[in-house]
Subunit: 418 residues, 2 copies
Amino acid sequence: MNTRNAFYAQSGGVTAVINASACGVIETARKHADRIGTVFAGRNGIIGALTEDLIDTSQESADAIAGLRTTPSGAFGSCRFKLKSLDANRREYERLIEVFKAHDIAWFFYNGGGDSADTCFKVSQLSASMGYPLQAIHVPKTVDNDLPITDCCPGFGSVAKYVAVSALEASFDVRSMARTSTKVFVLEVMGRHAGWIAAAGGLIEDHGIPVVILFPEIEFDQQRFIARVDALVREHGYCTVVVSEGCHHPDGTFLAEQGTRDAFGHAQLGGAAPVVANMVKEALGYKFHWAVADYLQRAARHIASKTDVQQAYELGQKAVELALDGQNAVMPTVERIADEPYAYRIGIAALADVANVEKFMPRDFITEDGFGITERCKRYLKPLIQGEDHPTYVDGLPVYVTLRNVPVPKKLGPFELK
Amino acid sequence: MNTRNAFYAQSGGVTAVINASACGVIETARKHADRIGTVFAGRNGIIGALTEDLIDTSQESADAIAGLRTTPSGAFGSCRFKLKSLDANRREYERLIEVFKAHDIAWFFYNGGGDSADTCFKVSQLSASMGYPLQAIHVPKTVDNDLPITDCCPGFGSVAKYVAVSALEASFDVRSMARTSTKVFVLEVMGRHAGWIAAAGGLIEDHGIPVVILFPEIEFDQQRFIARVDALVREHGYCTVVVSEGCHHPDGTFLAEQGTRDAFGHAQLGGAAPVVANMVKEALGYKFHWAVADYLQRAARHIASKTDVQQAYELGQKAVELALDGQNAVMPTVERIADEPYAYRIGIAALADVANVEKFMPRDFITEDGFGITERCKRYLKPLIQGEDHPTYVDGLPVYVTLRNVPVPKKLGPFELK
């Protein structure tokens, strides 16, 4: 059988484990050298395909590819670049097909969130209509955990573990200081629309920590929030607040937008955490500290969840197997079999059902008062943060690989990104 | 020989390893049960001694005490409470002696930074003059690494490791995103006066990361800073900035104070990181992300430096040995013998030489342009972040102990804190 080539690209915000999926794709492709020639990677995601800026992954040693499993970030570069609709910019889709044709690419593996699932689906449809049938497989990735059908998304478990561990440690710290100093600690976490990441902070309740969670799914009620914080501080002497960056007022304004201005009068230096911390100070006079985890949370490979790393790898592996199996316009998924002991299998979803659907926290995962997570939510979250997968350290720092990323000679003319 | 009791208290901001020192003190005291009766701990630091709110550590199991070695924060509670000078408040010092006398306490172990070294010294002096001689031993602790004589301070190595690991991971993230999105990542770290913690960010340079460090020791020059960031972004496509909370303008104003006002016109929600990030955006237009690590950095026991944990324990152990040896008004220190391979021994310093002296970064640890660290600084820092000392995990979270903290029956009347 003649071999044909594959294309792999990383899309959107990167995670602690998206490279583990890349590792799963490339290692599995290498095992099927009778059918898959070279895996080309897009330099900086789909932009690499549009500009024919391809990376020859066959130039990387087996060790380097294996090292991807323990390396955070996107080893080939990612991008925030959403292809427009077919009507608005058919030219981009046609260019993709042209590049794929020029490099004899038969398989398209796209590793990303909701937007990239949509792109992947459209590429598959268009390629068929253009007479260059391509098998397009989406590999799920998003710290936001907001893709439908799959029980969870690679990247989420590790962020959840980071948030739970960090909130636990900082809470122990505040508890030590509360007698004469800090009584309220506020940690801001990611999640513009869905509160999955903030929810992970609720796991420390079982360690005796009083915690208030502010979800994007629950409209912020300042008076009730202040009352809740005050009650917890009065009972425990301190409390921890985990606030999602997407937490907003009933009118839709984000907490972070609350009129903060710099010396020049420019709006918003950002941060829901300082806003919330100052609210507490104003209303209750409690001394506070706040942290904004930002990229640290999604890049924290050093505290990655073993479950998450394993699933990220398996979904990359499965994507290749599905492709070799003749599947098209699908995404491998995690199907949960049992919470405790945790069991799952890798399933499959049609991209038509995945594209443009966001999965929010079910209301019964959030306590009635809106400030905590329910037992049901804890049963959901716990398996996802289980296990450690410590990287190797040299001289005190983790060993993360940087690939050579050797370019593939171009065969086509330039293409201007619009 | 009759046994007499010991008193141990934690002071000031807690760290990832101050409990390892507590573990060293208590385990060593238990080994000398022929001379040391009970180790009483102050609940919430020295306040516990003043208010006679003592904790009976003999009620804790050997396992619980051993667990302190891997538990961040202050297990007995700490406090921000500086004893006034002897002239201003002799009453407090006399009360301490009264409490020590009532509980037959012959040894005073005080675990803290510069202020507590001073307190420890004064207690030792006063007790002698009051006819109740007490051996006062200071156990060094401070993430700021600013105590004199000792080569380093327990707590610092672990924060340094946290900062280097986090900056490395986030830099990999930014590097992935830089083509179309974030080009500058700003991480704010602790260090109001000394730049030791920020310096640790410089260790990632050897991993190929372009990094700019803003030290409290170097007056901030906005124009030169912007030029430096721009040069790095032009060369590498991205850069990382590590800014110390103590970074300030030539007139002494902290960057974090730069006129930020909330909706009510109140000054400063805080954060040097957003201020710096916005400066970059204003001047260069680069997309940025920023994080403020705050308590996360000093509480991060999960990524503690093994060297740091070991030294914290040994200094606690040595404090007891010095006490039994008849020493008074001293502090055990770390004496470096060699950088590579790293070797050290535990030394001893007189508190008279320690109290009220702050150790800043030597100028030759900072590069000439003021934005980086020199090879000499790297040789100093590298051994301090070496080795990992992973805690045990259950259900995805580290196992940290919470002690029973059983109170000792009071023998004296109440004492009002002023």
